[in-house]
Symmetry: C2
Subunit: 572 residues, 2 copies
């Protein structure tokens, strides 16, 4: 490709507010352009990278035995209604009607679609297992897009779905996909951490994220130093220690407590440790149920864990008026003790206690009246939660198996999900015929990789202050050839070399511009990030050579012009 | 690929009502499945074919200098409003709102999107010309889908857009794209006819369809035997001969005419030729304007030509009540003579006469009253049309340049459009900086190929009563290897051969099923349509060979098992 002919050249103008390096560099270098917020054009250079990433994924998926196919972009909404996901996917799901009144979902994933095509066939145990995948545009109606390709509203995803006779067979595939993903990301220049995570609206019992460690990432996860444990904050567990169970329970006492609404106000007033205070957080879910989450004062409530436990799709904090008028309690002074006594009869309230509360004695906290606190609160005796479970957010320094958790941030580039019977139990005819001729639901898994986000992650990891440093496998061009000066003979020689590369099918981007200074050409070469730079100039031609430099090295060497092709020729 | 592992096997059940061969075969052979009407899954075999078609297109487009990129699927509706296409695309355009209230179009083409990305750059005459293209999902909210992949509501299209300093430069690209398309379709096994056609809602002054002759096609076009003229019926012109201009005009006469409403009723009553009768057709457009189209009795009104002339997007026939109550005329007796005299004042009426009417004398027809006709009607003297133009539908046997037109039907697989300044004049900043530093709108063209429809066209052309006969370039697998009998040794030998093919990267589909009879395997091989069939059986192994047969030939030959790889080895 001649750079003079390329659509999408480098630009110096980028918003100074842009803090995400990958967005800045991909924009400046002419790989991407935003259409509207969260929706991107991939310019010719960006499209080559995107396709190379997809090619690597395709090769490894095919190698694993998975088969590529493709489903329509518009999913009949009826299918999403069959699994009730039209509700659980919530606001993120975009819907559209055609002129005949038929409703469609712009899918974020395609479980229902793939089951729908599979059930068009009579599947027997002999046909199982199989894994089918596609590359297709996915939609997420995010409230906020950010960071270029990191969180978008529209993107190409590789999504795969596997079908099995049982869990044992599925587990082999889950491991195979995990290994395949590790291979894929390695080829793309990314080292990934496999992190247990939440399944969001996908369903199923467990899943794992593939995370690239990076400060710009949105995935907060916790690992032990030896990597024996790695979990997303949404699901990370930790050991909750017994604090003072050796103490004797004291009598429950109500005391005056002229204090502010914050946890530290309680600490100050009662001169007791924070962990001994009960933290009370009142939520409302999408069915207008009230949920009082209570937990040790120095822990935070993990809303994802809480949602799963109470089977809610959405949670919001109750406001002061609701707490006063419906619960008849007082903000800052909520207590699980007798909390349901004054509850408005039209409402439901569920008290969920973190299991940490059973490991402390003589706690203190509000008394459902302004300026009144209880001292010596003890579980079972003084209050009886409806549910007792782990609803705590893990923190740096917490212990798991006697090892300290370390907090990290990263970019989620892929994930794998156990689905089990989550979909096949809900959807009609999602069955295979077993050895005895009986219809059985199949056991499933699904596996996704976001292409654009992966591309951004590569740039986050592989760049310097001058620009991108592409791993060879996905560089848009292997060689950035540039010619310096306006001498006709030099341009001629460079063009001959360019033509030779083209003839040998060695990917080369030829900066043939005549109206651009050397400095700008060098800067553009660094910004664009091809693995090798070759310079042809009056100077190099004097010694019948060209200058070759690797993008990620300072070393430059002169190679004889007739030998340079050999250097890059690869066996095909 | 082992057939036993393949998702999407052959099926015998297909609706007996299905008359489109490509739909029947692609369904039966397991290449495609309908999701909802007009939206298709491409199963693993179908996806390979689709990708191979795209690869051929990509290679030829790249060869022509065009550059691949990709735009978002959701187009900001604001862009379509800039060109007013949100209205002209009419019902076919699907629209959607996101949760923030922003409106998007599910595009059928992407002119506005590509201009929008181009105008994000400062383009100068030095950057021009360029041609950028994408493969992306397109949407058409068709009222009726039909015929499998022939007319769908969602499909992958290769759409390209070229940008030029002027018309001269554009014309070179138009010719290059035309040649490129011919090459592409030839590689895909399709011989195409280049047919002048209507631009629909794309705009611009002229365009051409690439049509594959086929009785199942929806494109009706007219060609001369020597192919010097080829036009879609929407735009085909022909010589309108003078009929009786040697006659003297007679006095206009109103006569009683107790006749039916049809043209032949007039012929019978007045005993005059059909061509001498005036055919009056009353239309209503989307702005509620009435349009009276009048034409020689033996010709039909071409609504597409009429729409262009009166600049309407939609036309429908006026109903009897409208003709009586608004026009104050009578169905079957409409006449251009004094037609506006009794018109309801709230309405507008435009009389459009086909230019054939000037070539006849003493015509006859209705008189705007029931059972009243006029005789000896002559243009100018008796009626004065608002517009006189060609609004006639060409027919088989009509003449052009003294050559007879032949009517043909075909499948439109691609098209190329001159756009000129149609878009760049409407959209802000759709300009480049010329040599004098002045901003000028660019001159444009666009070029489309429908992938699925092309695939269907290939099957329509390349099949027999047993199944598909894929051209080698796009066959999902080059070789269909099948093993007969249950003897372990035979299966072993076949598997060794299969592994050798795989190792050499020769594409092979291995029918390794053990529970299927020979007849079914042969039938499936024919149905699936790989170019070569190789049989390994007890019989062939006895003479240490395999049986090789081309799909499109009856001849079978025995090849030594050790030599068969050599036969298919290709230089890479």
């Amino acid at each position: 490709m001649k750079y003079s002919k390329l659509f999408g050249k480098t630009s110096k103008t980028v918003s100074s507010e842009e803090k995400i390096v990958s967005n800045k560099l991909l924009h400046q270098a002419g790989y991407i352009r935003e259409s509207t917020s969260g929706r991107y054009f991939f310019l010719p250079l960006g499209q080559i990278v995107q396709q190379k990433i997809m090619q690597v994924i395709k090769e490894e998926m095919d190698q694993s035995g998975s088969q590529e196919m493709v489903s329509p972009v518009l999913h009949p909404l009826l299918l999403w209604q069959e699994t009730n996901r039209d509700k659980s996917a919530g606001f993120e799901l975009m819907k559209i009607k055609d002129r005949r009144g038929m409703e469609f979902a712009l899918g974020g994933t395609a479980e229902e679609m793939f089951i729908d095509v599979v059930r068009k066939f009579q599947i027997s145990y002999r046909d199982l297992p199989f894994n089918i995948y596609q590359f297709s545009t996915k939609f997420r109606d995010e409230l906020r897009a950010r960071g270029g390709l990191l969180r978008v509203r529209e993107f190409i995803m590789k999504d795969a779905y596997s079908f099995h006779v049982d869990e044992t067979d599925f587990k082999k595939e889950y491991q195979l996909m995990s290994d395949t993903y590790t291979k894929i990301f390695k080829r793309l220049g990314l080292s990934t951490c496999i992190v247990e995570s939440d399944n969001g609206y996908i369903g199923g019992d467990y899943c794992h994220e593939f995370v690239v460690e990076s400060d710009v990432g949105e995935s907060r996860f916790l690992v032990t130093k030896d990597n024996s444990y790695a979990s997303h904050e949404d699901v990370a567990v930790f050991t909750k220690q017994e604090m003072n169970l050796n103490e004797l329970p004291q009598l429950l006492k109500k005391v005056k407590a002229k204090r502010g609404n914050k946890m530290e106000d309680g600490v100050k007033l009662h001169k007791k440790p924070l962990w001994q205070q009960i933290k009370d957080v009142m939520f409302v879910d999408e069915k207008n149920r009230f949920i009082l989450a209570i937990i040790r004062g120095d822990y935070d409530v993990n809303e994802i864990k809480l949602k799963h436990i109470i089977k809610a799709n959405e949670l919001r904090h109750a406001d002061d008026e609701e707490i006063r008028k419906i619960i008849h309690s007082e903000p800052g002074f909520i207590s699980p003790i007798n909390i349901k006594q004054n509850l408005d009869k039209n409402y439901e309230l569920i008290v969920v206690a973190d299991d940490s509360l059973r490991k402390i004695c003589n706690a203190y906290g509000g008394a459902n009246e302004k300026y009144q606190d209880y001292l010596n609160i003890n579980i079972d005796r003084d209050y009886q939660p409806d549910i007792e479970a782990d609803i705590a957010m893990a923190q740096e320094g917490c212990l798991i198996n006697n090892k300290k958790l370390i907090e990290k941030k990263g970019i989620e580039v892929g994930n794998i999900f156990q689905l089990g019977y989550y979909y096949s139990n809900k959807m009609k005819d999602a069955t295979f015929v077993d050895k005895n001729g009986k219809k059985q639901p199949y056991y499933m898994g699904c596996y996704g990789i976001g292409i654009g986000r992966t591309m951004a992650a590569v740039v986050e990891i592989h760049h310097d202050d001058k620009g991108i440093i592409w791993p060879e496998e996905i560089a848009p061009y292997k060689i950035h050839l540039l010619v310096l000066g306006k001498e006709l003979k030099v341009l001629e020689q460079a063009t001959i070399l360019y033509n030779k590369f083209c003839k040998e099918k060695i990917e080369v981007l030829f900066d043939d511009r005549q109206d651009v200074m050397a400095g700008e050409k060098f800067a553009d070469a660094d910004l664009l990030g091809s693995p090798y730079r070759i310079v042809v100039s009056t100077k190099t031609l004097k010694i019948n050579g060209v200058e070759v430099k690797k993008r990620d090295s300072q070393e430059q060497k002169i190679v004889e012009i007739d030998q340079v092709i050999k250097l890059f020729r690869v066996c095909r």
